[in-house]
Structures are given as C-alpha cells and as structure tokens.
Symmetry: C2
Subunit: 310 residues, 2 copies
C-alpha cells in the first residue's frame, strides 16, 4: 500500500491528501435540506447531508489526488449514525480508486491494540469466512504507550500490506507541552521519531516503510531534523493552509527525489467555497471550489518539491 | 458524576470497576452457539454472543460495584456491528444503575477533540431536539497532543457534569519508553501528572476533580509519587490482577480516607471461570464466577484501603 501511495503521488504529481473532516458548519444548506427531506430532521438526516457532502467532494477530486483522510471524530460525534457514514465514505472513496487514510489516532496496549488493528486494518474469521470492520488502508496511531501499543498494529499491517502514520510532532500550538520536552538534551519528538524509524524497519516497502510518521507543517525546522532522523519514513503532514503551514517551508519534508511526504488539507479544500478567493463559486458549487483548491494546492506545493525532481 | 462515583464507592465499600473487555476467547461456547442460532454465523451472531456475555456479567455484578469500563476496541474490532453492542452495553449498564467509564483513549486537537467529546460525553442539537452519540459518564483520554487536545473535552465535561481519566502512567511493560524519560531530571509522567492536576482545577467536584488520571497498578512507586503531585485527582488504576498489580501495593493510590482511586479488573472478573480458583463454576456459570471474583477482589483490596478508613 505504501508503494501504491508513492506511485500514485508520482503519476498525479500530487503529494496531496484531502482531509474529509466534515464539520457541520461546512456543509452547504442545500445538502442539509436534502438530508432532512430524505431522512428526517434528526441524526439520520444530518449524517445523510454529510454523506452527500463527502460524495460531492470525492467526485470532484478523485482523479487529482491519490488519497483521502476521513477524520473519524467528525463521524463519531453522531454515534452509530455517524459511523455508518464513515464506513460509506471509506467504501465510496475506495471504489473511486482512492487510498484511504483513517485519521483515528487510536492507541492502547497488547490485545487491545490488536483489536483496534483488526477493526481498522485487518479481518476476523467467522465460520471460515472473513469479515472486515472499518477497513482503511492506513490509520494514524498515538505512540504514548510505547512499543506494546505499536507492535500489534505492525503485525496486522504485515498481514494485510497496509500501513500506519504514528504521531511524532503534531501541528497544533500546544504540541510542544510534552512533545518538545528535552530528554538527554534532545526533544521528546526526536526520541519518538527514532523509535518510528526503528519500528519502520520491521516492515519496509520498496523505498519507504509501511510505518510512517505524522509531522506537522507548522514546525518546519522540526520537519527538517526529523527527515534526517527518519530517512525511510514516509511523512503525513497536517497543518498546511488553514493552520498556517506554507508550501515553501515543506521542502525539507520531501527527499531529494521529491518524494517521502504527503500533505493534508482539510477545510482549505472541502470548505474552499467559504474562502475569499473561491467565494465566487457559491455554496451550491462547493465541490467545484474544492476541485479548484486542489489544483491550486498542487501548484503551490511545487515550491516544495517539483523543482527538486527535475 | 465524580461525586456520584465517590458516593457509590463508599456505599458499596468497593473501589472497583469491572472492565468489560470481551475478548472472543473469553466468551463461553454456549453463548457463541446461542448468538449463531439467533443471528447467524456471521458478525451479527458473534456480536450477539458478546452482548449476551456482557449482559450476564452486568446482571451478576451490578449490585456489588459502582461502575463498569467497556474497552471500545473490543467492540470496534467488529466494525458497525460491534459498535451497536457497545452502545447496547452502555445503555444496559446505566439502566442497572452503573456508572459507565468508556475506555476509548481518544485524543486529537481543537475542533476534532470537541467532536470526540460531543460524541462520547455531549449532545448535538438538531431542530431543537438533543441527540446523544455514545453517551458515557467518563472516558479515558490520551494527553500526547497537549492542552489543545484536552481543553475541548473539559468544556463538554463542564456542560454535562461528566468526567475524564487522562493517561499519565500506563500499566504496560513498555510504558516507560516515553513516559519515564527524564525531563529536567524528573520523569515525563510527572510533568503530565502536574498538568492533569492543573486541568483538574478547571472543574472540581466536592472532594476530587472531574478530571482524573490513569496510573497503572504495576508501578506502585510511581503511584505514590503521583498521588502526592495530584492530591485532588481521582485515579483510575488498571493492571491489578492478571497484569501483576497487587492490592497491598495500592495503598498509596488511596488517600487518608480510603478514597481517591478506583481499581479496574477485566479478565480477572469477566473470565474468572478460566482461572484455577474458579474452575469449579464451569464455563456455563461464568457469571457466578465473575460475581465471586468481585467479592474476593473487594476483600483483597481491603489490604489497600479499608483498614485506613477505620
């Protein structure tokens, strides 16, 4: 799956993942009305609107980008009805040829991590037949519990040829409270990064490991250091755009061949119609605005990588 | 809710939470057969068996303990069908008067943490009516992303009078890989513990904060230190029994009144029938074995707290 991700990035010249984080405030009114009309003014109606919204985005961008990253919290907030739409979104994205990164940030220990891995990446055999729970291609994982928490995920990745992105340095303002604390004179995220590189050796793809890392776009100096410490680790980069990360700051996240990283944008794409530069599309044409935002992001990211691959 | 938890612990003299972590290997054969018969040999059948198993445990222990702690991973591994049984288990436990601690270990940033908080502790208003997603009384939360990740949960806790248990020092063997790293000469978990105490001041109950901590039973010296650093923080203690934590080691987790902590046991109770000392119950009487295991645990824990409250 990591090889497929890398190939698709190369084919499309787009190291871009579209974050499907459907905040209610992003969903255009006509879709809310449609959802209420089809399913009632209740949880089913709201989640139907979210499904229609996602479908519009996927239809508008699937030929431009290799992957989407649904943020499970945005579905989980609606309980079971939300989880149904999460599954429907995963299925539809895969049907359109997209790689699916589930932003689930799970993490526990031993048999519990194994259960999460089974549910999101693996399968369960009942009476000789295999069943899958959520079935993403990659998921994000939290490292706070150490190797006991991570190794069960890697076992399932090996069986399924799927992958992980482990949180190393997150993009948020307070990420430093714990992640930047100095351990033997070096920040904790470096220690986590080194561990991710070690874990990565347990399951290598052709040029990069199936076990990747999350490093925020908002701390470019950190990205530069971590790229050196984790040369075979593919990096998922949140924080571009709305959170303040700039394309030119990302050049060190990529390797000398312009590979090695994939940049996420969520509201900058899915809610592009709310930004001044795409306002002319109007709410009804939110999907066209999203498509244009992807095209513009692809161009913008060339500041970080395409020049180097010439 | 923290006041209710403390009152119930006192009334029952049982600082015990029963972990509803239904590994498939724990579920007695007669329930698997029943599940298959009722719903088919598929995901529905297996999760039906898990529901029957949980119901049996809850019926056997609800008058002895204040709370149960379903581990969501064990349900999530079965995808949507598993999540349905998670919800059904929460509802049934609450109906029986139990406080429900969802062991979900979620954690993200800003609006994403807010969405998790809404889904697990809060509510959503649609057309003037409130809807709830999973609706636990407490959940566990991962602190790796710092305050940005925690404060949105606390906001929802305040609105709902519900609580959190934030991971500080986990019970697993590799928990030290990151949690024990020295920061300014003190382990990282102490820094996290201090932060949890600070966050706790944002929402105090009568004697303890609504914002609690997870500290494993397997590191009693750590528990002793953390109790001092977090005097108003209620502690959820995993790792007793099967993982090696002993009652006599837990005395420092409790305060001078024998309060301040609640000890989890999962397989030591729900799969007690598989232990030599309860083998005579047999698989079919797994629930009676679970009840006896709770009674014995209550007695055992007196080594840690009841003597002090006399």
């Amino acid at each position: 799956m990591i090889n497929k991700l890398i190939n698709r990035i190369g084919e499309l010249e787009a190291p871009i993942v579209v974050g499907l984080d459907p905040m209610m405030s992003y969903v255009p009114n006509h879709l809310i009305e449609q959802g209420y009309k089809d399913k009632g003014e209740n949880l089913e109606g709201v989640t139907e609107a979210i499904w229609l919204y996602n479908k519009g985005i996927i239809d508008a961008v699937y030929d431009l980008v290799p992957a989407v990253k649904p943020q499970i919290a945005m579905y989980e907030q609606f309980g079971l009805e939300g989880m149904k739409v999460y599954v429907k979104t995963l299925e539809y994205a895969r049907q359109k040829g997209l790689i699916v990164i589930g932003d689930v940030k799970r993490g526990d220990i031993g048999s519990t991590s194994e259960a999460y891995a089974t549910g999101h990446l693996g399968k369960i055999n009942i009476g000789g037949k295999d069943y899958r729970g959520f079935d993403e291609d990659f998921i994000t994982v939290n490292p706070y519990l150490g190797s006991d928490g991570i190794l069960p995920f890697i076992e399932v990745c090996k069986q399924e040829k799927k992958g992980l992105f482990i949180l190393v340095k997150t993009s948020n303002p307070s990420s430093g409270e714990f992640q930047d604390q100095l351990v033997d004179g070096r920040p904790l995220y470096e220690l986590v990064g080194k561990k991710v590189a070690e874990w990565g050796e347990l399951f290598m793809g052709e040029s990069y490991s199936y076990i990747g890392a999350v490093v925020g776009a908002t701390y470019p100096e950190v990205g530069k250091e971590l790229r050196k410490l984790m040369p075979k680790t593919f990096i998922l980069v949140p924080g571009y755009g709305a959170q303040g990360g700039k394309a030119e700051d990302l050049k060190f996240y990529f390797d000398n061949n312009g590979m090695g990283a994939i940049v996420n944008s969520s509201r900058g794409i899915i809610a592009a119609y709310r930004l001044p530069q795409y306002a002319s599309y109007g709410e009804k044409n939110y999907a066209d605005a999203a498509r244009q935002a992807v095209i513009d992001m692809k161009e913008d990211l060339k500041k970080a990588w395409v020049k180097k691959s010439v």
